[in-house]
Symmetry: C2
């Protein structure tokens, strides 16, 4: 059996997240159906993370094992003809036998986009969080940077998945503005459930004056989810980069 890694992009609007579910359409299941047609056998994928319903990916890595002999460089085109246009396989590589898209992932970067304008923009619906009140990106950036480092992030996650530890390392977390579009970028060795959306909600609380950047270490120490800001909506969230030892997969 060869072990194949895929690099994907997807617009998550139409999907109930990555992970296969019994009743809802997901990215993994849509991709697996296409891969099964191309490989001529049932295929199961492992993804680099469980993106939620409505969350997007500009660079996502998944892997699967197959006995099909299809040349690896033919896989992207072949699969793309069998899946809807909102999911695109950009590249495929044969990888080491023990490679696992989630277990082998060293770090990931998510980007949360906020459309900050008095008037809604129809081209950002489901693609950025519309926030009509003027936001101060400098306050937001200071709040974002307060999350950097190795901390227990229990205060900024939603309960619902079992994890051994809620300690993670955030390598960078910052906010930049480009016209009406604000971007919060956060890179970590791992993310808890809804962690980026809770960090974004907390950074927005800082912009609204509901907390101060210097409160964030206290909130993290408390481990109390109710002290942090709300979970920002999914449509603004994108998985934008991933890192592996196999550098062909990085982007």
């Amino acid at each position: 059996m060869r072990n194949i890694a895929l690099i994907l992009m997807y617009n998550g609007t139409a999907y109930h997240g990555w992970q296969v579910q019994k009743t809802e359409v997901t990215v993994a299941q849509t991709l697996e159906r296409g891969l099964s047609m191309v490989c001529g056998e049932p295929v199961k994928c492992t993804g680099c993370g469980r993106t939620d319903a409505g969350v997007h990916a500009e660079h996502y890595v998944a892997n699967f094992r197959t006995s099909s002999r299809i040349p690896v460089d033919r896989i992207p085109f072949a699969v793309n003809t069998h899946i809807p246009e909102d999911i695109v396989v950009k590249a495929a590589y044969e990888v080491a036998e023990d490679f696992n898209a989630i277990g082998s992932c060293i770090r990931k970067e998510y980007t949360y986009r906020i459309y900050n304008s008095r008037i809604k923009n129809p081209f950002y619906v489901d693609r950025a969080y519309f926030y009509p009140k003027r936001l101060d990106e400098q306050v937001m950036d200071r709040a974002a940077r307060a999350f950097e480092g190795t901390h227990d992030f229990a205060a900024v996650r939603s309960v619902g998945t079992n994890v051994r530890s809620t300690v993670r390392t955030i390598y960078y977390c910052h906010v930049t503005r480009n016209g009406e579009l604000l971007e919060l970028k956060v890179c970590a060795n791992g993310f808890l459930y809804n962690m980026v959306r809770a960090i974004t909600g907390t950074v927005l609380y800082a912009a609204e004056g509901k907390l101060k950047p210097e409160d964030i270490p206290v909130i993290l120490d408390s481990g109390n989810r109710t002290l942090a800001g709300p979970t920002a909506p999914p449509g603004g969230l994108y998985l934008t980069r991933v890192w592996y030892e196999d550098e062909r997969l990085n982007g």
Copy 2:
């Protein structure tokens, strides 16, 4: 009766164009329904142009007459709560009694977007024309500029609407590249049916070597639609600017 002009944006993907039709959902009809609720009386809109099914607008002007006393600056918010998110009223102004969004329009600019990359991008579906073969934007720009000036544009329109004359003046027509995104911008005192999409198809023919930029004057002189390139698909087309004597409406 007051005469009110609206500035709109819309994502045209879900609509059968601007113009009210009997059987299909259009932008005008969706907007009129919202305006009628806000004004408490039936409202009919005049738009600045008939965009086709799937065509978008970043800046569109429409006007309507009403005896409603709603303050004009309340109209955008009020209407936006009654229409879907893919249409947004950005501003409203009371205008001269004889103002007419199409008749008073001095010139318009359309932008045609091409996503030129080997691999499709799920975020540009229905928003840019996907063209996988590398395009030479310099050849395209030379071809585009050949359309500038006052000409009979019968060779680059689709038959289907009655117009007195097929002579128009193109003030500028050029192509620029920004990474994988190509933009053809064309500004004219008026446009024939499908004219921008036919110009785009012809400029793409030049990039493909199927004709030369210097053939374009000959094609225009011939008035023969079959000598020009095909009509490019609607999803790449945006109305981006309009000009009126009432400068509040320009953008």
